[in-house]
């Protein structure tokens, strides 16, 4: 009996195999049908719907969505000074965070890649990676506790007569620089690892001062990696809304979107297109600078 069952099962499997055999399109199609339905219909569909919604408006009296094409939201984004200010504040913070992270990340990435021994290197990689998994929200809360009026920073600065930045753009800058730092360290580390030691040795053997070696050999070769890291820090800062909400009272692109989603979804949709456009423009620049050649 048992053998019979096996034979029956096998023949079913064999028929299936026969169906798929020599039909690569059917094979690929059956593998991809479900996931593509999810990603294309649900996700890409949502993005398209977002784009369409951005051209709708809300009836100011009833609050209901008017599903007719209108450029009103975009006119508002361009013409109302507050929104221009919010966009510029966000972009400026993103640039500042990116620059800060690049400056902080380079020394540790360089030490990890070119100076540390194998054990120290592995240890440092884990030390840099581990905090990435310590909840993003918790890290913002930590900075809230640090920057609070009776927080760690004011306690530490008091003896030297200084006062922390309090709630504001500076706090957002500090918090974001903290949040995205590992995303800068890791690409630079990977980029520096790819520079052959022999190039550095050659520069040294030819009598270059370490600073000259750094400026003429290491920096130009690792620059694309810095740009690659900057994509993360830049785009993550642009889209964030919790850090501005929790450590400042200022409006950023993210907070404006979040605040308008409940009563003006079309406007939120239009504003959500702003970071997309800025990120795409930034990716274009990054490509020119060679960031994708090594990623």
């Amino acid at each position: 009996m048992a053998t019979d069952a096996v034979v029956v099962k096998r023949s079913a499997g064999r028929r299936l195999a026969g169906l798929f055999n020599g039909r690569p399109r059917l094979q690929i199609g059956s593998l991809l049908a479900a996931p593509m339905a999810w990603l294309v219909i649900l996700y890409l569909g949502s993005l398209v719907a977002l784009l369409v919604t951005a051209f709708w408006t809300v009836n100011p009296l009833s609050g209901s969505v008017i599903k007719e094409f209108s450029l009103e939201n975009f006119e508002e984004l361009v013409n109302v000074p507050v929104y221009r200010e919010i966009t510029w504040r966000t972009v400026r913070t993103a640039i500042l965070v990116t620059f800060t992270d690049a400056v902080i990340a380079f020394p540790i990435a360089f030490y990890m890649a070119k100076v540390a021994g194998r054990k120290t290197k592995a240890l440092l990689v884990v030390a840099v990676l581990m905090p990435l998994w310590a909840s993003y929200l918790v890290k913002i809360i930590a900075w809230r506790a640090i920057l609070a009026e009776h927080g760690v920073l004011n306690w530490a600065l008091e003896p030297i007569g200084l006062h922390g930045p309090g709630q504001g753009v500076t706090s957002v800058w500090l918090t974001m620089s903290y949040l995205w730092l590992p995303y800068m360290i890791l690409p630079i580390f990977a980029g520096l690892e790819r520079i052959p030691d022999s190039l550095i040795a050659a520069s040294e053997d030819l009598g270059a001062h370490p600073f000259t070696t750094f400026r003429k050999v290491i920096l130009p070769l690792s620059f694309p990696a810095v740009v690659a890291g900057s994509i993360f820090t830049f785009s993550l800062t642009l889209g964030d809304y919790l850090a501005p909400k929790l450590v400042s009272n200022e409006q950023f692109i993210g907070t404006s979107i979040f605040d308008s989603i409940t009563n003006n979804q079309p406007f939120a949709a239009a504003f959500a297109l702003v970071p997309i456009v800025v990120v795409i423009a930034y990716l274009g620049v990054a490509r020119k600078l060679g960031a994708f050649e090594h990623v």
Partner: protein
């Protein structure tokens, strides 16, 4: 690189400073969780374990934990199924549009999280006309978790040879048998790592969650977020935060063990242990980009 003594000292000092910058905020939260005062004040006047007790006893926090685990588990299962299917197609076959597919998988984490959040919320409420609930959260989480599973599985497929599967077919196995006895055992630990990372990612996520969650529902990060604005119970928040960190680090640690283990067993291009660590680190770093969204 050859550095002068002084250069080395300066560089080491810089490294120490950066590590301090990375770890001090985490230490602050840890200390605050044991703070004996009802308000958050630095330095804490004394220490107590009572906030952990209160956190564990707190009905709403416990419910939020259960909600988070449910959401994480279901999103993980969907992501494992879809991510593996895509990986099997992309990793083992050549076809037109393959690069587009890998791009499509990464898109939900490549775009700022708020975009994914607004887009999905807009589709649910405006296009489909369904109200937000735990299910919409799960759909959102699954969407950006697919890439984690996909990355892990496709990396494993690239390291293992397709000729084993061909041999299995030549020896008369049907496609299911080949998958069950050849492909799956080779993928097992990569699948495990991908699943754990997907769970950790979902467990931690707040941005997309905030846009897709129904009124009255709370995942653990949302619970923390809401309680930040209820000043009376503040010290319970760092305690829950510490619990959240521990609960999300455990799956990541296990995933790292699973994926670096195997990177050691099946040497890729480099083969050395150092390469394995870096490769594992890179996968985890890449995956983590999502957590921020």
């Amino acid at each position: 690189m050859r550095l002068s003594r002084r250069g080395k000292i300066i560089l080491r000092a810089a490294v120490a400073l950066v590590l301090a910058f990375i770890y001090i905020p985490l230490l602050v939260i840890l200390v605050e969780a044991f703070n004996s005062s009802r308000i958050l004040k630095w330095p804490p006047p004394g220490f107590t374990l009572s906030w952990f007790g209160k956190a564990i006893e707190d009905e709403s926090a416990r419910e939020a934990l259960v909600t988070s685990i449910e959401a994480g588990a279901v999103a993980m299962l969907i992501a494992v199924a879809l991510g593996t299917l895509i990986a099997l197609a992309v990793g083992r076959r050549k076809f037109f549009g393959r690069d587009t597919i890998s791009f499509l998988v990464v898109l939900p984490i490549a775009l700022p999280g708020i975009v994914t959040g607004v887009a999905l919320s807009n589709t649910f409420t405006q296009v489909m006309g369904i109200s937000l609930s735990l299910m919409t959260v799960i759909i959102g989480h699954a969407t950006f978790c697919i890439v984690v599973v996909y990355n892990n599985v496709v990396a494993r497929l690239r390291r293992t040879s397709g000729s084993f599967e061909e041999a299995s077919a030549d020896l008369g196995a049907d496609p299911w048998q080949t998958f069950r006895w050849v492909t799956f055992p080779a993928l097992r630990s990569a699948l495990g790592a991908g699943a754990l990372l997907a769970f950790a990612l979902s467990f931690d996520e707040i941005i997309v969650t905030n846009f897709t969650i129904g009124a009255g529902e709370e995942t653990l990060p949302i619970w923390i977020y809401h309680n930040l604005f209820r000043p009376k119970e503040l010290p319970i928040v760092p305690a829950v935060a510490v619990i959240l960190i521990v609960l999300s680090i455990i799956p990541v640690y296990l995933a790292h063990r699973l994926s670096s283990d195997d990177a050691g067993l099946t040497p890729g291009r480099g083969g050395a242990a150092g390469t394995a660590t870096t490769a594992g680190a890179a996968t985890i770093a890449e995956t983590e980009a999502t957590a921020a969204h």
